[in-house]
């Protein structure tokens, strides 16, 4: 497509002092490639885009289709009938048992590892006030670092600093799940669900929760103050704020295959309050492909772009031939 052109003009007026490239630069006469969008080139480009994109689309689509996913919304079902009219009271009432059992039917064989997610909806983890309400220094250095004004109003409690401070930590998700298949208990591995780098460098290995969830405002989950922050993986995952108000976060992994028609029994503690703001809570079991979770959109878009590109190539070819014939 490119035609290398070196202008012959410069040779005539070559300045004797400046070396040739500098002179060419000053005279705006550097050798340049000047691509011209000739019909042949355009048609080829579009065609190549099509040829490249459509297969990618199909491959992605196939990968996405191969992912098996079970989604179960449980926030409404797990409220006793007596509380149906006032779910907030239910979730706030500490005396009521929050236990709940769900039965998930496996429709298709799921190969290990099976990822367990919780999904929240209408939850503005990306609200600016919420996102800012944390302190990286404190997470890493603990009490040694005490200028934590960004965490207000959850900065201090009874005059003592809170570790980890801020709204994000304070509102930690605290529903818990345990799984069994029939009588057989399914182990959920909750290790290594957070990024390695977060555990190693972002959350202090010697920083223990302090004065956390002790105040008048009670938010989400509590933390075991014996375990350092770097090992509180559910906290680490939670503190990676989601981009959208509807999000999934990794809960753990089931490292056993699930067969078709298996029924997974989920025993859960429905602690987390999504009722005040009408958010949904779901539990998700999903396998993954090389592309990640089940998402047909990428493959479809690739096919769409590839196809339209092919279409443009064809139209162009046709018009070009027509105009050629006319000439």
């Amino acid at each position: 497509m490119a035609s290398e052109e070196r202008s012959s003009l410069s040779a005539g007026v070559e300045s004797h002092r400046a070396p040739v490239p500098v002179h060419q630069f000053k005279q705006q006469n550097l050798p340049a490639c000047k691509p011209v969008l000739t019909p042949a080139w355009v048609i080829t480009t579009y065609f190549l885009i099509g040829v490249l994109f459509i297969p990618i689309g199909f491959i992605s689509l196939r990968a996405s289709m191969g992912v098996v996913e079970i989604v179960d919304r449980y926030d409404t079902e797990c409220v006793p009938n007596s509380y149906k009219s006032d779910k907030v009271a239910y979730v706030k009432d500490m005396s009521v048992s929050k236990n709940c059992t769900r039965y998930l039917k496996v429709k298709k064989r799921m190969k290990a590892p099976i990822y367990v997610y919780y999904e929240l909806d209408n939850y503005y983890q990306n609200h600016r006030r919420y996102v800012k309400s944390r302190n990286e220094q404190q997470l890493l250095h603990g009490l040694r670092y005490n200028s934590t004004s960004s965490c207000r109003p959850l900065e201090l409690n009874k005059g003592l600093p809170i570790v980890p401070c801020g709204l994000v930590a304070w509102s930690l998700f605290n529903d818990s799940y345990s799984f069994s298949r029939g009588a057989e208990k399914l182990n959920v591995n909750r290790k290594n669900i957070a990024w390695q780098s977060d555990r190693d460098h972002k959350f202090g290995k010697k920083v223990h929760p302090f004065n956390f969830q002790n105040g008048t405002l009670i938010g989400g989950g509590k933390l075991d103050s014996r375990i350092p922050l770097s090992d509180q993986e559910d906290l680490i995952v939670w503190m990676r704020t989601a981009a959208l108000p509807s999000f999934r976060k990794l809960y753990g992994r089931i490292e056993e295959d699930l067969d078709e028609d298996d029924v997974v029994i989920v025993n859960l503690l429905n602690n987390y309050n999504t009722y005040s703001f009408g958010g949904k809570k779901k539990i998700v079991l999903s396998t993954s492909s090389w592309l990640g979770g089940r998402n047909n959109f990428l493959g479809m878009t690739y096919i769409l772009v590839g196809a339209s590109s092919m279409f443009i190539a064809l139209v162009f070819l046709l018009l070009h031939k027509l105009s050629w014939a006319r000439q």
């Binding site: 705006q28 550097l30 609200h127 006030r129 709204l167 460098h201 108000p245 993954s288 979770g293 772009v305």
Partner: protein
């Protein structure tokens, strides 16, 4: 004098009849009554010490044109910077970023602003420094001043005080406004050149008072004192009111005793003067107007776009804050995880207040719609473009060593949009150097040299015939040009060869003999004394004598050559004298009463010095348009010798004097056509009695007092100059500057309109019009002039009506013209113009003028030049360019959209006022057609792209808001945003703005019609701008939603992790970086390694940055810690997304441009393709066809002249064969 010339001492005042006669001073007139406000200045001559204390302490002669000084620089420059609306907005944003409402880190708002403002201020400081240096150069010039005791010594100008006595020597500038005491001439006159004040090149005479005449040597100043009481400093150049008190006598002063600063002493060895006004008090400094700061149209249009974007910004901010308020009020109380704040920023109970705070947040957040870096990038790009203009070797004048200079860089792109060129004539189109080239004596034409115009025209015609229509014989050749024609009958290389670059030395072969300045005559019939063998030898003799005698020049013996040089008031006169000298009639001496001419008679071969007694000299004035001398020769016979404009002379011939009228007329027409300045020569023999009678009356009139003195003198001379006998005519070539006709031709082909504004006479202007092909034979000339005869006071109205009628009639004529090829030329003189420029008439005048192919305004004052420029600028709304070299062009240069000064000649006023300066007129072609075209496209594309990229980026922020409860959270890291405009996308766009070339410079010159893309504004019209904004909108939608949907809730890796905000933001940002950089690569059509490096380097920089950012402590990088290395890098989804999104973003644009190129191509597309397929080399005929297409249809220039000739020939042939088909001259656009 450098050459040690010897000057005959002569009382010059005796040479003049009208101008210099000193009327006997009327004693009753008395001194001026000087009192009251405005007349408070007292100057103690030769006592500068008295002026060191108040109240007589006047300012020193120090001048300063700088805008700032050391102390005021910071506050003033900062104030200047924040006069830009955008900067104020960014300043507010930066201040607010220190408060809690900010969505970003304060540093990300403050640092770009500091950078932008700092850079602009640095530029200001640089420019001001340059002005300071220039001022100091002037301030430190040396002047000779009186120290006391009659001793004089040098002193820098800035130390000169009021009251100082200054001695100024020949060719020096006056350091301040001086009161003229005495000069080297006995009668106390001196000559000054006021070029820098009013641009007039002719010399002006100043006269000292008689009482001060004795003060003409250094010693006489020992005890000189005197007091001047005069007016206060004022800008009026032509008035002065004051009195001199000397030895208890009071003498009135008038402007002719005042020598103004910045004018130059000429033809006078020295003068003495007393300083009256110094420094900024001097008249020229009082006259100095600040050069208006000009902004290009594109920039003005850009402001509009910024307002649009600002509206958009406010609009989406309001949406955001309403959304925020609603969310805060209705939903936030339910969000237990966001408990109420102690401030009001997120207070559901004061939702309106929170909403208001949020409005500010949103205004800052979406600030990315208004690219802060745009201004600084444009500034940088323009400076670099200017550098390239300065460096262009094709605009470098080797003779004077001056390069082109872009003095202000903010008009570069305007160069590509010029519609009308208004040009000065003298010094711009012509060198103001006259060459005697032809003459017609007694009905015979002499002179074989061809004028430049003839040569060029013949060459062009030969080419065109050669290249296009071989069936036509090349019989266009006129006399003298045949050989040129034959010389150029080379094998055809197509019209592109008509560069005519050698045109300045067309007679290269003949130039073997030494070149004589002012003389370029070649004809053996009358050279070397051969004239005596011609039929009318006696008339030829008379002809030469008229040349040698009828003038006001002074001879100077040149010691080096032994010959005489002449100092004449006009270069024409000098050319005549040189010619006479070459013909053997050397004017050698002038005494009070006589002129001595050394005649070399061919018969005897010896030199005889003849004396001609000058009895009377009837001066040349623009009104009279003729000059006569009455002489008595050695035999006692009295002759009236007259030279003047042909029309005037022909009216005054006697019946018997018309023998040669017809032949001479024919020759005059030919000369005019050849672009020469012509004068007719005539004589009359006077009888003794007849003369004596007239002379007495004349003398009486001369010494009479009263207002009608001039009138009577006029009438008397008119009486005398009658019944003349026509001898012949002279043709002088006002040498055009190198390449002027070619340049005008090219510019005409590029579709530019051409106006010439000159202070010259109408005839001269018309001749030059012919010479530079602005006029040609067959063009209909519309001459509008004020009839001088009705000049009485109350006839002003009549005159105006008369001019209006002329204009309407001409307009009608133009309107009724049916022939599409008919071309009209409008020629208007200064007086008529004065009326035509009045409010009620100017629209009529303009309407007529734009319908004419060329417009020539003669006898225009500097003020009128500026007014005409304003009229064209405002009346047509198109972009005007004014070009000139003298101080009289300053007004027009400042008034026009672009002012260009010709540098390299004397006087820097025009250059100082100009926006660009070039050494020669012909460089204008390259400046406009190449640099203008490039810069226009570059800037236009750059701005469009800038808006595109910032819309594409900024809107994604807005979309994301909708998903965050309008809380003002951005999906990107602060540092990404900071880098986006400063590093990641700015360099490619700068490279686009600096290096882009749609076609190479040679092609630009070959296809001048490409230039029309600028004046038509094809690249920055609203369609295009809105198209780009639409493209930005589309891209933002694709980038945002594709990313969001892909990353929405599912795991993005095989290890099951879901994407958090950092991952989504980073991927989205990667997509943006790719999309905008691919987009700019699609815009570019010219990739050197620099563009490749900057475009792809920017993308690489992003990855490098991301990697490095991930390496620094998470305390700073937050959630972006190791994001590329650990989270995104290994995820195939990330890479697939960054492939998909940029392609999807750019597909429609690519489709658009390829369809446009294939099925609706623009000019440059076609040319690029021709170049690409090397059709210029393979398919000659097609190449030529394209070339002829690329000429804008034009009515002026060579091409038009040739076209017209060809058309006529064709018509003739058609009539003969009645079969030939006319050539269709096509135009691209």
């Amino acid at each position: 004098m450098a050459h040690g010339r010897v000057r005959a001492k002569v009382r010059r005042s005796s040479l003049y009849t009208f101008g210099c006669v000193r009327p006997p001073r009327d004693e009753a007139e008395g001194p001026h009554q000087i009192q009251g406000p405005g007349y408070s200045r007292i100057v103690y001559c030769n006592q500068p010490r008295l002026h060191q204390r108040k109240p007589l302490k006047y300012s020193y002669n120090y001048i300063s044109t700088t805008k700032y000084n050391v102390i005021t620089f910071i506050p003033k420059a900062i104030f200047e910077q924040f006069r830009r609306v955008a900067n104020v907005y960014f300043l507010l944003a930066a201040i607010l970023s220190l408060t809690p409402v900010t969505p970003f880190l304060p540093v990300s708002m403050i640092s770009p602003l500091a950078f932008v403002v700092g850079l602009s201020m640095a530029k200001e400081a640089m420019e001001d420094w340059r002005r300071f240096v220039q001022d100091m150069k002037v301030n430190l010039r040396k002047a000779i001043t009186h120290k006391g005791n009659g001793e004089f010594s040098c002193k820098p100008w800035l130390k000169i005080q009021v009251g100082d006595v200054v001695k100024v020597e020949k060719d020096q500038f006056f350091p301040a406004d001086l009161f003229f005491l005495s000069s080297s001439y006995e009668d106390g006159i001196c000559y000054v050149e006021t070029m820098n004040l009013d641009g007039e090149t002719n010399l002006k005479v100043k006269r000292a008072l008689e009482v001060t005449l004795p003060l003409n040597d250094d010693d006489s100043f020992k005890n000189f004192t005197g007091t001047i009481r005069c007016e206060d400093p004022n800008p009026n150049l032509y008035t002065f009111v004051g009195n001199l008190e000397l030895n208890n006598q009071v003498y009135p002063l008038d402007p002719s005793q005042i020598l103004l600063r910045d004018s130059k002493l000429r033809n006078t060895s020295y003068v003495y003067g007393v300083v009256i006004f110094t420094g900024h008090d001097s008249k020229v400094m009082q006259n100095a107007t600040k050069s208006p700061s000009k902004r290009s149209r594109i920039e003005k249009q850009m402001d509009k776009i910024i307002y649009i974007l600002f509206t958009l910004l406010v609009f989406i901010s309001v949406i955001s804050s309403i959304g925020f308020a609603v969310k805060t009020k209705d939903q936030m109380p339910d969000w237990w995880y966001l408990p109420p704040d102690d401030g009001h920023l997120y207070d559901p109970s004061h939702a309106n207040l929170s909403g208001f705070y949020h409005l500010i947040t949103a205004l800052i957040l979406y600030g990315y719609l208004i690219p802060i870096s745009l201004y600084v990038s444009i500034e940088l790009v323009k400076v670099l473009q200017a550098k390239f203009i300065n460096k262009d070797i094709h605009m470098y004048d080797e003779e004077t060593g001056t390069p082109a200079q872009a003095r202000t860089s903010n008009l570069n792109e305007e160069l590509g949009q010029v519609d009308t060129i208004l040009s000065d004539k003298t010094g711009t189109l012509t060198c103001n150097q006259m060459d005697f080239i032809k003459c017609s004596i007694a009905g015979t034409a002499y002179g074989l040299s061809a004028s430049e115009v003839e040569v060029a025209a013949a060459k062009q015609m030969a080419m065109d015939l050669d290249g296009q229509d071989p069936e036509f014989p090349g019989n266009f050749s006129r006399r003298n040009s045949t050989e040129v024609l034959l010389k150029n009958k080379r094998p055809s290389f197509g019209p592109s060869e008509i560069e005519l670059e050698n045109i300045s030395t067309p007679m290269g072969v003949k130039h073997q003999k030494p070149v004589i300045k002012g003389f370029n005559f070649e004809d053996n019939r009358i050279m070397n004394g051969n004239w005596s063998r011609e039929p009318f030898a006696d008339l030829i003799l008379l002809f030469f004598r008229i040349l040698a005698v009828c003038h006001t020049a002074i001879p100077e013996l040149n010691d080096e050559t032994g010959g005489y040089d002449y100092e004449a008031e006009s270069p024409d006169e000098r050319a005549f004298l040189v010619a006479a000298r070459e013909f053997g009639f050397e004017y050698c001496k002038r005494s009070q009463t006589s002129i001595y001419v050394r005649e070399c008679h061919p018969s005897s071969r010896e030199i005889v010095e003849r004396e001609f007694k000058i009895l009377n000299l009837l001066d040349f004035t623009s009104k009279r348009k003729r000059m006569s001398v009455i002489v008595r020769d050695e035999n006692g016979k009295i002759f009236l010798l007259c030279k003047g404009a042909d029309s005037i002379i022909f009216d005054r011939l006697s019946k018997s004097g018309r023998i040669f009228e017809e032949a001479t007329m024919k020759h005059l027409n030919e000369y005019g056509e050849a672009g020469l300045r012509t004068l007719a020569l005539a004589y009359k023999k006077l009888e003794e009695a007849e003369y004596t009678a007239w002379s007495e009356e004349f003398l009486k009139a001369k010494t009479s007092i009263g207002g009608d003195r001039e009138l009577i003198l006029d009438k008397l001379s008119d009486m005398m100059e009658r019944d003349l006998f026509l001898i012949g005519a002279t043709a002088v070539e006002d040498k055009l500057q190198k390449g002027v006709p070619q340049c005008i031709d090219k510019l005409a082909q590029a579709g530019l309109k051409f106006w010439v504004l000159t202070g010259d006479k109408m005839e001269t202007a018309i001749n030059i019009g012919y010479a530079c092909s602005l006029l040609r034979q067959g063009m209909r000339q519309i001459c509008i002039s004020a009839n001088i005869d009705i000049m009485a006071q109350d006839s002003k109205k009549l005159l105006k009506e008369n001019i209006l009628m002329q204009i309407t009639v001409a307009s009608q004529m133009v309107k009724l013209e049916k022939d599409p090829h008919a071309a009209f030329a409008l020629i208007i003189d200064g007086k008529a113009l004065a009326y035509a420029l009045e409010n009620d008439m100017k629209t009529h005048f303009l309407k007529l003028a734009v319908n004419c192919a060329s417009v020539i305004c003669c006898r225009v004052s500097p003020k009128q030049k500026a007014l005409v420029t304003r009229l064209v600028k405002e009346g047509t709304g198109k972009i005007t360019l004014a070009i000139g070299d003298g101080a009289n062009d300053v007004g027009m240069i400042q008034e026009a959209d672009i002012g260009i000064g010709i540098s390299g000649v004397e006087g820097m006023q025009a250059v100082m006022a100009s926006d660009f300066s070039i050494a020669q007129f012909r460089f204008l072609e390259r400046l406009l057609v190449v640099h203008g075209h490039w810069c226009y496209k570059r800037i236009a594309q750059m701005i469009c792209y800038f808006f595109y990229k910032n819309i594409a980026f900024g809107l994604t922020l807005f979309y994301f808001e909708a998903f965050t409860g309008f809380s003002g959270q951005s999906v990107y890291d602060d540092w990404y945003m900071l880098l986006f405009n400063v590093v990641l996308t700015s360099w490619p766009v700068i490279s686009l703005g600096v290096f882009e070339q749609d076609v190479s410079s040679e092609v630009c010159l070959q296809f001048p019609a490409l230039y029309q893309q600028g004046p038509k504004n094809l690249f920055f019209d609203w369609y295009r701008i809105i198209g780009w904004m639409g493209n930005g909108l589309y891209s933002s939608l694709v980038i945002f939603f594709v990313n969001i949907i892909i990353f929405y809730d599912q795991a993005f890796r095989s290890e099951g992790q879901t994407a958090d905000m950092a991952a989504v933001g980073t991927t989205m940002f990667t997509c943006i970086i790719w999309a905008v950089n691919c987009q700019i690569a699609l815009i570019m059509s010219h990739f050197t390694w620099i563009q490749h490096f900057l475009v792809w380097g920017s993308v690489v920089t992003w990855y490098i940055f991301l990697f490095l950012y991930g390496l620094i402590s998470p305390v700073y990088s937050g959630n972006d810690f190791k994001i590329l290395e650990e989270a995104l890098g290994p995820a195939p989804l990330y890479w697939l997304t960054t492939l998909l999104v940029p392609v999807a973003c750019n597909l429609p644009y690519l489709a658009h441009i390829s369809f446009q190129r294939a099925f609706n191509p623009m000019d440059h597309h076609v040319i690029q393709e021709i170049k690409y397929y090397k059709k210029d080399k393979e398919d000659r005929s097609m190449w030529r066809r394209e070339l002829s297409k690329a000429r804008q249809e034009t009515k002026i220039g060579f091409s038009a002249r040739v076209d017209a000739s060809i058309r006529q020939l064709k018509l003739r042939l058609q009539r003969r064969y009645s079969s030939s088909t006319p050539r269709i001259s096509m135009s691209l656009t």
